[in-house]
Amino acid sequence: MGGQTARIARFIGVRLAVSAPVILGIVFLTFMLIRMGGQDPVAMLAGPMADEAMLNALRAQLQLDQPLLAQFANYMVRIAHGDLGVSWQGGIPVLNEIRHLFPATLELVLLSVALAALIGIPIGMRAATKPNGWFDQISRFVSLAGFSMPTYWMGLMAILVFFYILRWAPAPMGRLSMEVAAPAVVTGSILVDALLEANWRAMGSALAHLALPVACFTMLAAAPMIKQTRAIVIEIMGSDYVRYARANGFSAATVRRMALRNAATPLLTFLGSELTSLLAAAALIEYIFSLSGLGQWGLNAILLGDFAVVQGYVLTLALFSMAIFMVIDLIVMLIEPRN
């Protein structure tokens, strides 16, 4: 299969070449937006007792007195060396922070998307079998309602009901209960790390803390999943080849298999875009449930004008979505004959 390997390599090569300008564009856009935003961190950094001389010295030290384009060039050179800079809030290297926080966000997003797919795809398929039937109408209304609900508000109401009134959920703070010791950090995902050392107590606590945010997030993620699956399946069921198959008396099972197979590509592609858009939406859920993930950190940084962090955050999101799209397109290329 040397040809296949070469094909994959060429695909990845082309994709990287095409993605590079998009990534560069994103970095540039973020850089300019944040720098021109009028947020001057120097006053914050220097503290309440600084005078003008101290501010200027600090500005020079942070190279904030240089022209914007020169600052951008410096930044790009540093990125090329794998240095994403340092958060002015804490002097902590951004890359370390990302490494710490990303697993928490991934945990939330992957679990939710997986659940949403498990719920949304079958519902969407069922709805598509009889468009405008009662199941379709109900599922459409529910998915639209889920889609219309502000995530953060849903989170708040979940806290009210499950934490305050029912006392089922743990306090919405962090990823583990206070009295539970965290497992040794291997992957950064508490679930995985707890599994690795068979620490069921930590595992249970982590799951309990994830339950509400994941449930809320799943609601959000499942809505478009239902809608999209339904649309894809309806389109396939109305396609010439399905009509032809039915005209030839193929069994319902065969037709369903055929539909599934043909739905795989558009569904995968949709799952990819869903995954990337949810990664960004995770910020609000993390904020509501104090999950201290990447999103919460990035959100905060935008409000505070912490340049390096915002750029690191956006870059991570962009790279992640690029990677997701690449992997998905690669899978599609391998399973899909039309390419």
Binding site: P150, Y152, M157, F163, A280, L284, V314, S321
Partner: protein
Amino acid sequence: MLAMDKTKAQAWAHGFYVHAIGLTRRSPTFVAGLCMVLFFLGVAIFAGVIAPYSPTESFSYDILRAPSDRFIFGSDGNGMDVFSRVIYGCRYAFGIAVPAGLIMVGIGLPLGLIAGYKGGLLDEVLLRTLDVLRAFPTIILALAVVAATGQSLISMVVVIGVLDSPIFARVVRAEVLNLRASTFVKAAVAMGNPAWRVMVVHILPNAILGATAQLPMRMAWAVRISATLAFIGVGIQAPTPEWGAMIRQGAEYVITGEWWAALFPGLALMLLVLGFNLLGDGLTDILDPKRRGVGK
């Protein structure tokens, strides 16, 4: 297959001219959506009549009172009447969504029209922009831009409208590509009509019809994202009775059981967004002949 073999455009036009009641009967979703949106619009218009208090009047000695006869939705952390604030909040919801929608259409329609019809550089740029938007979470972008361009209501409206315009342009572009391939446009071109005439006379009206269903959904998005920005704490100045900002203020008290300050504005927000979405979904049903009950 049936005798009613018309061009797609005629079918749309047909669908559009028919009496509104006929349209709504066809799609219960549409009726529900329309009723909800009209209800909120009515509330927005008559807010002054409905609301018992000024939305920004602070009752200093009634901080965070539970719902009662006096404050039917309770009072918030600043001693303001939640009910009156929710009522007046409708005005902000429409006041943001409608101008943002106009900006979106104003930019997106010509952009999509030209990109779809002419192709070339503009089309390329549009597609690349969409790529960037796809990889760049809109909420983060909106947040950064609003934070950067001064935190005013106006900048929020403009940012939302501008950020969403490429998405609308894409819808228009897809419609235009479809129409460009249709017989009647080919015929118009063959008859020697200039490009602008074909675009304006033959494509534009049909493209607008095709993109109409998208409009309420984009409005829903505008309402949602503006509330989200306000919830995060940008764009809206206290004590403006904007729903997102109210949820933000009320969020502080939810965990200790003072739920009313966050519940009601969120409920209103959800219902209006749902209304717009239902409206859009229903319109898709009505305007898309492929999904019609009669015919094929």
